[in-house]
């Protein structure tokens, strides 16, 4: 049936989104525009972390590492050749001569991030629970150190700046849609439903034919792809990229969005991403005026603790609002 509920909802949303983007790009000022872009990128990050953490019940703090890989890759690829000559002298020749358009750069960044996730995931995903969390934190730090020290390719701690400001809503919006679509497809496939039903219970999962290990690796790899793309979008929004851009604090922010929104809920992650990124912006002028930095972080941490105590399943639990659920055949 063409007129299935969720397809109608999706169509309405996409059209509304396109309309919104068109209006926004034309009429809003730069500050608001960049804020909306950030919100979009955070939605991509939260929804993709939800694929990794929410659907399979594992806990990864490594998302920013994949962002960094994707971001740096895209940045190096789009960097104008003549700038490469004096900024990045250490680059191997084949890289130094290349200047790649935005879309392929983003895609390559995403793929590289996925490959890294595969390499990392195969050993690390044998762990569970908080040991996995700490191991992914270790991965985050290792990636940070590697980036900081391969100065010939990354300019080390200085990072790259003067990146072309290629990101705008016409780029971010489609990627948000793609991320949500892929998430949605996974979640409501029969495999996805099984995964979610048994994510807490390993034994039940195996009895249902869910290959735990492969599922987890796949979830990490897919999540990493979108994280890599988000990293590329980020780099070309901020027009700069440093090893410190992608830290544990960022990992914590994304985790807060997923947990508060509801681990396993796409809507939850997206809504929480919107709310928290706007709130962070809201705190910034307050912090600056009072000259007290850190208030926004404290607020987020408090919200997190409260949710964990009073509503550990998050705002939406693992469910979507009825409007977004596929109609039963």
């Amino acid at each position: 049936m063409i007129f299935r509920r969720e397809r109608m909802t999706a169509l309405v949303l996409i059209l509304a989104g396109i309309g919104f983007v068109a209006v926004a790009q034309r009429s809003m000022n730069d500050y608001i525009l960049s804020l909306i872009n950030f919100v979009g990128i955070y939605i991509i990050l939260a929804v993709s972390l939800n694929i990794t953490n929410g659907f399979t019940g594992l806990f990864s703090l490594g998302h920013p590492a994949f962002m960094a890989i994707g971001g740096y890759a895209a940045a190096i690829l789009t960097f104008p050749v003549r700038k490469k000559a004096y900024f990045l002298e250490g680059l191997p020749d084949w890289l130094a001569r290349v200047e790649v358009p935005f879309l392929p750069s983003l895609l390559i960044g995403g793929v590289l991030a996925s490959l890294a996730a595969l390499v990392v995931g195969v050993p690390v995903l044998r762990l569970r629970g908080h040991y996995l969390a700490v191991a992914t934190l270790g991965v985050l730090i290792i990636v940070q150190v590697l980036i900081t020290n391969f100065e010939s390719v990354t300019r080390g701690p200085l990072g790259l700046n003067g990146l072309p400001a290629l990101t705008d809503l016409w780029w971010v919006f489609p990627w948000v849609m793609v991320t949500i679509f892929v998430s949605w497809k996974i979640k409501f496939s029969s495999y996805g439903r099984t995964m979610l039903a048994v994510r807490e219970d390993d034994m039940a999962a195996e009895c249902c034919g869910v290959n735990l290990f492969r599922t987890r690796v796949a979830a990490l790899v897919i999540g990493a792809f979108f994280a890599g793309v988000a990293g590329g979008l980020w780099a070309h929004l901020v027009t700069a990229i440093t090893p410190k851009s992608f830290s544990l604090v960022l990992a914590f922010h994304i985790v807060v969005m997923v947990v508060v929104g509801g681990s396993g809920s796409i809507t939850g992650s997206a809504v929480a991403a919107m709310v928290f990124s706007v709130l962070t912006e809201f705190f910034r002028p307050i912090e600056e005026r009072l000259n007290i930095y850190g208030l926004g972080e404290i607020f987020m941490a408090l919200v997190m603790i409260c949710i964990l105590i009073y509503r550990p399943a998050g705002m939406f639990g693992a469910r979507e609002p009825r409007l977004f659920e596929p109609e039963e055949d």
């Binding site: 569970r128 629970g129 040991y131 930095y293 850190g294 208030l295 603790i305 550990p312």
Partner: protein, 298 residues
């Protein structure tokens, strides 16, 4: 690379290891008793350092009094962390406790930034501690000697407490089997609180030492040493106090020797090396050197 140089590196490693060991003990005790990683433990180190700064430098209190206050402050913060992050999560899945302690850690760090600003502060110990002592090819400052001796005294005291006292037996019994411990009449809440307080006190003293050794402190100081001490606890085997002590010294030595013996190009990879070791141990030898049974690994 003379023998004297290597000896010097070993001494440096032992000093660093003393500090890691003190913090690792707290991690391992807490894990042993409630099977959860206290991510905020490293930040107690930071608090110890700042309390020292305030009392010693700003107020000019005598050193022994400052040390006692630092112990007390660490115990207090440890108790607060237990109350805020762990007691409400009792019975919840493992990861929830971890996220909660991560949130508390971020909160503590940012409270530090709010009250102290992110600027690093200079930290100077009284002059007599800065004196240089030379034994053969090895030289160190008096403060280093004090660090090592204090660490040894504290660790011995803790081991005696855990082995000989009623509280210690209660802690060990609770760590083995919480329900049966209750059947013995042991008050679980108080025993857990005592564990957090002891761990916190030791971590705070490590903060005092850290400030004295490195001369500069900032609110984010606890993050990396905290994580490394956790690695040390894992190396030694979580749940085992002697393991944590060994792990601390092993890590301190490994880190210093890594930097001291390998060509300088590698020293920047020091932190990556530490965490790669963590992942390797978790995969290959999850019980560490002396650990008891470990809960879920897979």
């Amino acid at each position: 690379m003379t023998g004297g140089y290597i000896l010097q590196q070993i001494v440096n490693g032992l000093i660093l290891g003393s500090m890691y060991a003190l913090v690792a003990i707290g991690f391992t005790m807490i894990y042993g008793i409630i099977r959860l990683i206290n991510f905020a433990h490293g930040d107690v180190v930071m608090i110890g350092a700042f309390v020292t700064l305030g009392l010693l430098q700003k107020l000019g209190w005598p050193f022994w009094l400052v040390s006692v206050c630092v112990l007390a402050a660490g115990a207090f913060v440890g108790l607060a962390i237990e109350r805020a992050a762990f007691r409400p999560m009792r019975g919840a899945p493992q990861v929830t406790g971890f996220i909660a302690s991560l949130a508390v850690s971020i909160m503590v760090q940012n409270l530090g930034i709010v009250f102290m600003t992110a600027q690093p502060r200079n930290f100077t110990f009284p002059d007599f501690l800065q004196e240089l002592i030379r034994i053969g090819p090895v030289s160190f400052r008096a403060v280093d000697l004090v660090i090592m001796l204090t660490a040894l005294v504290l660790m011995t005291g803790l081991i005696l407490l855990v082995r000989k006292t009623r509280l210690g037996v209660g802690m060990r019994a609770t760590a083995e089997n919480l329900d049966v411990a209750r059947l013995m009449g042991i008050n679980i809440n108080r025993t857990i609180m005592a564990t957090f307080a002891l761990g916190g006190g030791l971590a705070a003293i490590a903060g005092l030492m850290w400030g004295g050794k490195f001369g500069q402190i900032d609110p984010l100081l606890g993050f990396v040493p905290g994580l490394k001490s956790f690695v040390a606890a894992v190396i030694g085997g979580v749940g085992s106090i002697p393991g944590a002590i060994c792990g601390g010294y092993i890590l301190g030595l490994a880190e210093v020797l890594f930097v001291g013996l390998l060509p300088p190009i590698y020293s920047a990879f020091r932190d990556a090396f530490v965490f790669a070791t963590l992942i390797l141990i978790l995969l290959v030898m999850p019980n560490g050197l002396m650990g008891k049974r470990m809960e879920d690994r897979a």
